[in-house]
């Protein structure tokens, strides 16, 4: 187990370097950041040159990348164009997005798995058909449509919730955005769980458990569900990274100042430091989430052993 962990951690290094280099190059290809920084009116050449020097943009790209990575390892992610250190932006953005992601994941787990179990056990019944139809609708409608619609109905027409989230982004205000963010994944989790449960219902160990005379609840939760969760856990694990980085649409609709907002603004203003910094952290989140998923396999299925 320990050796496996070390191997996995070592594998992360090339992935991390490769991913950040790719992002760095892509952002650089987009063009001269100083032109974007100056806005509608071009900066005079002297100021532009001075800004380039200050942000190190006059050096060759490989050198920029090397200095950047060296700084990153000392915890310095550079300065955004508005004069704020990128770490400061991260400190405000990540807690908000983590909260939002947690709300979304809780929705996925609670609603998604519950629906999946119910439909998996009652395959072909009306409740199964109804839920399947529902998930189909949710998957096929884009997030911004669901988001705007729910915002208009619940926020403006019925006045149940605030249509936008305040800067502090407390948990209760994140329930609606979290649900919207989770909606598509939730539908997938339902379908995954349903298929998995339906398949494993006929497995030998379930028959054995029933034959042993275990109560139905224990059979379903302990034996059937636990073994059926592996694909679902894989999905949710990778979804954590996707939800954190992919909340741009949801964060815009509900005015949440999280990672998506910072990324969006960073791209619009061609702010290399912000974009690369945030994406670097997201890459780390992906890697760690994936590792955790792999380790969870062993917990869920005793037959899986790592060496």
């Amino acid at each position: 187990m320990a050796r496996y962990l070390v191997r996995r951690l070592l594998q992360m290094i090339p992935v991390f370097v490769g991913a950040t280099l790719l992002i760095f190059l892509m952002v650089n290809v987009m063009g001269d950041p100083v032109a974007g920084l100056c806005g509608e009116r071009a900066c005079d050449s002297a100021t532009a040159a001075q800004l380039e020097r200050e942000f190190g943009l006059d050096k060759p790209v490989w050198q920029q990348y090397a200095t950047y990575m060296a700084n990153v390892f000392t915890g310095d992610f550079g300065t955004a164009f508005n004069g704020q250190p990128v770490t400061e932006l991260m400190a405000t953005a990540f807690p908000v997005t983590i909260r939002l992601t947690l709300v979304a994941i809780v929705f996925e787990i609670v609603i998604g798995i519950a629906l999946g179990v119910v439909t998996g056990l009652r395959r072909g019944r009306p409740v199964d058909t109804a839920v399947l139809l529902g998930t189909l609708v949710v998957i096929s409608v884009p997030t911004f449509v669901t988001g705007l619609l729910l915002q208009l109905l619940l926020g403006v027409k019925w006045g149940w919730v605030r249509p936008s989230v305040s800067p502090q982004a407390p948990l209760d205000e994140l329930i609606l955005p979290g649900l919207v963010l989770a909606s598509v994944s939730l539908a997938y989790v339902t379908r995954l769980t349903r298929t998995s449960i339906a398949e494993n219902r006929r497995a030998d160990y379930v028959r054995t458990a029933v034959a042993k005379g275990l109560p139905r609840r224990r059979v379903v939760v302990r034996h059937l569900l636990r073994n059926s969760l592996i694909p679902v856990v894989t999905f949710i694990g990778t979804d954590i990274g996707a939800l954190m980085g992919g909340a741009i649409v949801t964060e815009r609709i509900f005015n949440i100042h999280g990672v998506g907002y910072q990324l969006y603004q960073g791209i619009l203003r061609q702010n290399t430091q912000t974009v690369v910094g945030f994406v670097t952290v997201l890459v780390l989140v992906f890697l760690v989430a994936n590792l955790l998923v792999d380790l969870l396999y062993a917990v869920l299925d005793p037959r899986i052993r790592y060496a």
Partner: protein, 539 residues
Amino acid sequence: MRGRTRVQWALAVAVAVLPLAACTSGAGAAGGSVLSSSWGDPQNPLEPSNTNEVQGGKVLDMIFRGLKRYNPRTGRAENMLAERIDTTDSRTYHVTVKDGWTFSNGEPVTARSFVDAWNYGASLRNNQKNAYFFGYIEGYDKVHPDSGKQTADTLSGLKVTGPRTFTVTLGQKFSTFPDTLGYAAFAPLPRAFFTHHKAWLDKPIGNGPYTVESYTKGAQMYLKKWAGYPGPDKARNDGVTLMVYTDSNTAYTDVLAGNLDLADDIPAGQLKNVSSDLDGRYINTPAGILQTLAFPFYDKAWNTEGARKVRTGLSMAINRAQITKTLFRNTRTPATDWTSPVLGEDGGYQAGLCGAACEYRPAEAKKLVQEGGGLPGGQVRITYNADTGSHKEWVDAVCNSINNALGDDRACVGNPVGTFADFRNQISQHKMPGPFRAGWQMDYPLIQNFLQPLYYTDASSNDGKWSNKQFDALVDRANAETGQKAAIGLFQQAEKVVRDNMAAIPLWYQNGSAGYSERLRNVALNPFSVPVYNEIEVG
């Protein structure tokens, strides 16, 4: 055993989540007569000489007062901190600052407050984006050379002559110079700005009717009424909370839900229902913004006598009235000159100066384009940035109009560029394949500002590199003129040169728009399309 582990797990997760959930506190509209207003994250640090966009400008307009202030109704430059600005030769100006003004930290506003601020703004070392505003002052080439190191720290043209008096010497005659002093870049700065710069940026100190009470970067700023404000335009409310919105649609939704008091910039998609949604609490007033199509004069094909006819022909092929009415729902007005109605007749605005060239005349348009040798390359590609505003919509509409007029489906196509930054980039590298979107938001309400920075040879925003000796000579003469009226007359003559050459196609004058909640009264936008916050009454 297993069961217990699971409980422990759940506990651990709960403990990890709790601190995240704990930091919740009240937000939104504060009580009393404080109003909340939509805002965007300022692009640059909030230094007056470093702010060249409207969101940072909003704050500066609330916390600073300069020598002059533009009347929010008429746009006329009026004395604010200036007691007198005298000159005999349009080159050396003697400025006297009014007595009794202080910054909100108690420090008196003196001549030095201005001179230090301007020197800071001009100095190359400080990377100030509005540095070129000080370019008229003598010695600018020393503190801000085009290349190489600066050889002086202060402008030789600025001299403090007394506690409340200083002189400004310009590098050339510039008769309307005093009227430019209402621009935020010319604001005075307290000593704290220089001695505790970082702290100042976190919580700017100024001399305007509001003081910054709290500022959470990227989220919100609470500006409180400054009770000790010595000026005549005291705040009529207790304060303003500026809330950052990433999407103007969300801000609009929040106004509908009563969560936000004031949203400026109503999204285009909501314009058709805004009157009924807000029951008349909607304003739509002219702002000093002109949208044009600029041309790449560095491209030989566009810089010929024939191309002049083609440009005029293209202008006639655009049905401005229809586009502004159906697409913009009258938040734009068809342009008939190269300035803006907010200048007023006295300020140099001349309705109809463009004449027939700005009217929709498809038959003549087709004829002119043919006479001019056809479209360069057989097709015009209008370049625009697709990330903000509704540029795609109007460029498509303009192309449609051109295609219909010329009877050719492929005469005009849009050429979208992904981000504004990249768009600017391609413009500065002279890579425009044809006409491109150009918008001009005035810095100060003077006809000079609509002409010189855009069409003078090698001027700061002359992106198409248009150059015309006659125009340059007229602008030089206008700037040297001592009389306001005569200067404006000469600028208008220069504008006629722009017209005769169709240096840029004027499209429409842009309005500022805003919607507000039932709590507010007396809401107005100034010519810079910024709400006049200090006049808003709450309750």
